[in-house]
Subunit: 301 residues, 2 copies
């Protein structure tokens, strides 16, 4: 971890904004921190001027079959959270208790449950949309908890964090427009909060040898843009939002069709809510009551 991340983490913990746990990248959140998160949430919802957007909320777990079908387990196996539970009887229970008591590995006594941790808040939408979309496609707004297994002491890289996403499913051209319009709109919102942001063409962190090809293709086809900002004293910029074209990545495996009978394409724009909150603390200081009035007025007036 570089020195800037170390000092940022120390400040956030010392001021009680985040609460440390024994697991790297897992934090409790204080009321002042959550006040910023909630304000950001309201601002993001209000910023959507599209009357047709449907708001939905999903739990932090998704059906395992969906993560298998959307390719996430194949492409990002190192980031997943597969959920396992105990289905044995009294005998296996005695063994489990002993192993758990001594902090030893009891994975062999557990069975995979029907669920996995949610990796992206748009994931549960696609199975739900199987079938034919309405004329003009569908627009959704979703917000919730995501998990990615990448333990780190840099507070910007959390294992459990919140994403707020806007998603379009339908025609290819509209998906393109949606992606580009939200990229611009997202930049405007973040600049309006006093953050210095830029955009870059980016790729997802596909795993291993097979993943290198996928990452190259994603870059070549300019499917993903990230909105980046550089936190105080950090050497490298941090992605705080992204705007993505999925083509038929979800439409095909989940059997989603447009009203005219083609395989639906999709696009999503995601705000990294915890990362944006952290950027605001880094930029404007640790006391939100002393943030620039232009920010406070948008958040709490």
């Amino acid at each position: 971890m570089d020195r800037a991340a170390e000092s940022f983490r120390s400040e956030l913990l010392a001021r009680g904004l985040l609460i440390e746990t024994k697991v790297d990248g897992l934090y409790g959140r204080s009321a002042p921190y959550e006040r910023v998160i909630d304000a950001l949430d309201r601002l993001i919802v209000q910023s959507d001027v599209d009357q047709q957007t449907i708001s939905l909320r999903f739990p932090p777990i998704v059906p395992r079959a969906e993560l298998e079908r959307n390719g996430y387990i194949s492409s990002f196996p190192n980031l997943i959270g597969s959920v396992h539970t105990f289905t044995g009887g009294d005998e296996e229970h005695a063994e489990l208790r002993e192993l758990a008591e001594y902090g030893r590995n009891y994975a062999h006594l557990l069975q995979p449950a029907e669920v996995a941790l949610c990796s992206s808040v748009c994931h549960p939408l696609y199975a739900m949309c199987a079938g034919v979309l309405p004329e003009g496609g569908s627009r959704y707004e979703v917000y919730g908890w995501c998990f990615r297994h990448e333990p780190s002491l840099d507070p910007i890289r959390m294992q459990a964090f919140r994403m707020h996403e806007f998603v379009y499913l339908g025609d290819s051209e509209v998906a393109h427009e949606f992606r580009d319009r939200w990229l611009e709109h997202g930049c405007d919102i973040l600049r309006g909060l006093g953050l210095e942001v830029g955009t870059v063409v980016a790729n997802d962190p596909f795993f291993g040898r097979a993943g290198r090809v996928l990452a190259h293709n994603q870059l070549d086809d300019v499917l993903k843009y990230e909105i980046i900002t550089t936190l105080d004293s950090y050497e490298t910029p941090t992605a705080i939002a992204s705007s993505n074209l999925h083509r038929d990545h979800f439409g095909r495996p989940f059997g989603i069709q447009t009203a005219s009978g083609e395989v639906a394409e999709s696009a999503c724009f995601g705000f990294g809510v915890d990362r944006i909150a952290l950027s605001l603390f880094s930029t404007h200081g640790y006391d939100p009551d002393r943030w620039p009035s232009s920010v406070r007025n948008q958040f709490w007036s």
Copy 2:
């Protein structure tokens, strides 16, 4: 599933209040449903007149070591969600991809991560409170997602649901008072929302042969009360809140001491937020705009 639960589930899905997934007990939530959840959240926070309460929010995952140390894995192994991830290389990745593609079991290719799903929203507090408490003890308010692996088609029994808890850590007598005061206060709040509620002495669903003794002891010592209500046409009542005395169950393993140097005792009161929302729909109908004005005024005025 009895007929009342079946018909309740059908109504909730047909009206789009909940969104079905392929996993029993896992639902998406609509905006009208979430509007009730958010109103309930605000009402619950406002109902706490204690000036010393500290508000905290935790992610839906907790350090695995805490679930081992607080006895949850030993006592409720069948309800846990242990989180596993992939730590292999390209060779194991190829095997994983093939198994995942065909929906086969790939658990042997995964390793336990440092976390598990959160089973009760008060759990992360105890490790955090290790050490000496301030004079008079500590009071917390926590709200978040819980997971319990009990797949069911009865909408009242969800695998992922929200709990809103008030927790006291400190002296034994104050813990007693706290538990009893919140039980009464919780009943008042729920009656004020037009729910017919009663209280019963209850036990947690401890697992297996060893668990029967623990359940008996909990009942004998009157450590747990549940607030129950009977949903429309249901034959059996449903617990929608509970008030619990933990004695030193958390204070001892997590090394929490009172200011006078004794092992801290604790108590918690938990609102089952999703269950309360479902009870309101069952009691007052599926359109919150037509609920009794006494409820609407508390929620949205």
